[in-house]
Symmetry: C2
């Protein structure tokens, strides 16, 4: 499965796998794809360094990349000064904090232990955190830097290009994609409505060719709704130069969700069991629908706060829900493809299914077109 | 573009075109596809008869079909007796009627002339109307009967099968599709989130293969987001035996929207200019987003009524908005593919683009798979 982009990056298959887990990223690259480590959960640069060291030791020389989250708009004081996490915390209304406490109390969610840090942090949303991640990452031979929110700042694009690192950015509309192109990025990830995490309203079937045409000749990766070889063939038929898969790896054997209850929920969920909600970060992000997302989306709730306030507001609560596996509230960002994630298999097994399914889908389309298959 | 289903129906290309316009339906069939006439706008059986006569005279012996709308739930009195249109009208609250009057007044929408009938009727939603349509249609050599809401009643399926007419039903989920299969229908139209008209939450990229697997070996047509040969190739790669296109024909030369202002709005609209709203029928249906849909979807509005009440409530208003081309309120059901409908061309020109684009997409996928293209 070779496109110009996969050749440029030296990978066997134009399959890009986004994952927060180093073991998954390395396994995707070893399987012949391109593993991309999501950096948003790293607060401390040394943790990211440790995990990049691990990938280096396990990737067998294959290429891989890093995904950071730099919001297009900085959170700053009216003076234009960057704000600290504490400054931002202070902007959260007490009524919202009370709603979090009340909701957790209603479900009897225990407190974290004294001094126990919230394991689930989203401070990576803040530009200064993302920049410290990049200071670490540029010491490693990453081949791709992706930004999940808006175009990365010009100096970051320049630093990446100096090091021969391709820059990718996610887009949910053709207009958004053209902005990335103007910002000098190299690859657009067209993220459809059905995708997990932050996503827009336009579904992949419409979005992918629209973005392909809008930014031509930039290569486009299709994201959203892809978890089988048939869907990969579809995305490539739509004009993508590769696919960007995130959700599918969450139930692989190498993934480390720290919660068997969450894994069970993912395995059981159907394609209709997700919701596009602002509950997690303040921007619409597709995730498992739970009583937690229902509470935030209810008309009689306080409503969500803008990014990054919502993420800071709920960080500890989400950690508690995950630690104590409070089933009705337990969720995670995931796309509609969750309906296909029905067993735990190795990354290699999943990957082999993708490439085999792709070949079968190409056979099928060739037959329909009246051309001889293989 | 040949699948088992296209061979069974004797068409050159597995492209099914749904349209309310006889001239478009006939042109699709003449171009090598399968035209399906939407019957919902016909209140009087003799109007449907006139238009089927016209199709017969212009289809050059090619096969075509009919699409009706029979709600799964009948509107009936507690006694189980079928209700007349007048009975149903009486169920509409006065507050909702006032909201319609106020909204129309706010935009200065003129009244219809004395005695002028509302041109835009949705009484076809009611089962007794759909049955009278079928009494007409079964006298014609239709090859396909599609139902847009739920499975058709068992006696209708039996009548169709006696006449060698294949029965299709639209589905927005695998569960819904399996119900159709149990009801004995022959073809499932998997209608994705991005589609125009009544549609569910699951996007085509995820829905199509899910439905294909759920109802195997029944043939599935992919609907939603398809308006180019690339998208047809994608849908077939996903496992569909054909595609079902509705929106794309609205801006063809043969379409008769009775409103140049509406045509202009469709040509100008982008993929982000639609909304899935209950404003038109009471069930979520994708349509152009307008100040009319915004008014119904606003949190301080009265909310929409269930089908068929909402459709009866707004029928005259929609006629007035369309007749007087009141721009901010003027809309129509259409899918996200509206972003690709940017010029008025003949059905034949549109169709030829589809087949040419399909061949190019197959070339592309073959090259990526390392197989020689044509």
């Amino acid at each position: 499965m070779q496109t110009e982009l996969s050749k440029q990056l030296g990978v066997e298959h134009a399959v890009f796998g986004f994952t927060p887990f180093p073991a998954v990223a390395a396994a995707i690259s070893r399987a012949g794809g391109f593993g991309v480590l999501g950096a948003v959960r790293y607060t401390a640069p040394e943790d990211l360094k440790r995990d990049l060291d691990w990938i280096e030791a396990h990737v067998e020389g294959r290429p891989y990349g890093l995904d950071v989250v730099m919001p297009a708009k900085k959170v700053e004081a009216p003076s234009g000064q960057a704000l600290s996490e504490a400054d931002v915390e202070a902007m959260i209304p007490e009524g919202h904090r009370q709603f979090v406490r009340d909701t957790l109390a209603k479900y009897g969610v225990p407190e974290l232990a004294e001094g126990e840090a919230s394991g689930w942090r989203i401070t990576g949303w803040m530009e200064q955190v993302a920049r410290s991640q990049l200071d670490v990452a540029f010491d490693y031979p990453i081949r791709l830097l992706a930004n999940a929110l808006g175009s990365p700042p010009a100096d970051i694009v320049a630093r990446a290009h100096e090091r021969g690192v391709l820059v990718a950015a996610l887009a949910g509309s053709a207009r958004h994609a053209r902005k990335h192109q103007e910002a000098g990025i190299d690859i657009v990830v067209a993220q459809g409505y059905e995708a997990g995490g932050h996503t827009g309203e336009i579904a992949s079937m419409v979005l992918t060719p629209e973005v392909v045409d809008a930014v031509d000749p930039l290569p486009v990766l299709a994201a959203g709704g892809i978890g089988s070889g048939r869907q990969i063939a579809a995305a490539l038929a739509l004009g993508a130069q590769g696919v960007w898969l995130g959700s599918l790896w969450l139930t692989t054997a190498e993934a480390d969700l720290h919660s068997s209850a969450l894994t069970r929920k993912l395995l059981a969920a159907g394609s209709g069991d997700t919701v596009r909600s602002r509950a997690l970060t303040g921007k619409p992000a597709r995730q498992l629908r739970t009583e937690w997302t229902d509470a935030w989306d209810a008309p009689d709730g306080p409503g969500t706060l803008p990014m990054p306030l919502q993420g800071l507001l709920v960080a500890e609560a989400v950690s508690r829900i995950q630690k104590y596996e409070v089933d009705p509230l337990l969720g995670t960002p995931v796309g509609q493809i969750v309906g296909r994630m029905n067993d735990v298999r190795s990354v290699r097994a999943v990957f082999d299914d993708l490439t085999r399914g792709f070949e079968q889908a190409v056979d099928r389309v060739q037959r329909i077109a009246g051309r001889s298959g293989q």
